[in-house]
Symmetry: C2
Subunit: 146 residues, 2 copies
DNA sequence: GGCATATAGTTGTTTATGCAACTAAACAAA
DNA sequence: TTTGTTTAGTTGCATAAACAACTATATGCC
């Protein structure tokens, strides 16, 4: 039975995530304008390290909703940029603990400022009540599919 | 002034589009299970051609929110799969009109069934009223940033 | 007609994703 | 201790995105 909550064009927009694509592009653009030379994917890893430094790659997978090869390569690139370092774990030699360099730590304040600005741009004219419901729906969608 | 509608973790989810990523992955998985051997990006192009066959690449850019190189390569791959064909336009020799092959046309029904099923999976337990508001918010976000 | 500019599309480079196959270390059971 | 299984991470390959530089055609203006 076809779902008729969505007209054809809307179905497309919803499935392809037009809005979140737009937010990502704007964030990337805002980083560039602020002379922050990282990608939003790299930002998404740093974001979690700023909260808890020294996470393992597997923990970063879970936090960022990315698979292991993606994190391997994001960490590769962040290491090239000297923003993080892989430290072998003492307790479990299979694990790499990813720790921020001083340069990586320094980025936090500026990046989070830009992220908040971007979110404010995105949510112009949207009421708190609407945002709450949208967040709920998106969370339910995620829970339904995970 | 920082936006305090979002707690930290929520900000991350919203910006990175956790929900729409999950929908995309599920759609891809459902295509695979249905033995439909295309990517969701290829689907997004076919989707618009099923509505209006013979669009130019530029029109596909606008419809799919992708840039020109992306469409060039998606059309390349769709041509390799023999699902579409580039026809030079008579009126404007700069333009390629992208037309569906019989195989491309055949895919429509099955693909749209799978897309609708996927959307139903995603929206389990979400009321029509909530969906309406979420759609509005996402549209406003898109309009704010485009 | 001739020149500047805009539009349509392609190509090259870097970064990232998804999937499968792989290595190495840890753990569990006999 | 050895054997099998799970977990952590890496590598290879195909597809895709973002950006810049490019070619070719069309158009507007003098």
């Amino acid at each position: 039975m076809p779902n008729n909550q969505f007209k054809k064009g809307e179905l497309y927009s919803f499935i392809t995530g037009k809005a979140s694509t737009a937010i990502g592009r704007r964030l990337q653009k805002n980083f560039k304008q602020a002379n922050i030379e990282i990608t939003i994917e790299q930002w998404s890893v740093l974001y979690h390290l700023w909260k808890v430094d020294g996470m393992s790659q597997q923990e970063l997978c879970d936090a960022t909703f990315r698979d292991k090869p993606s994190i391997t390569r994001l960490v590769d690139n962040l290491e090239k940029l000297k923003l993080v370092k892989r430290n072998a774990s003492r307790e479990d030699r299979r694990k790499n603990l990813i720790v921020l360099s001083p340069e990586g730590k320094e980025l936090e304040e500026h990046c989070m400022e830009v992220a908040n600005t971007t979110l404010n741009e995105a949510l112009q004219g949207v009421t708190n009540g609407q945002v709450e419901i949208a967040k709920e729906v998106l969370q339910m969608v995620y829970d339904n599919l995970k």
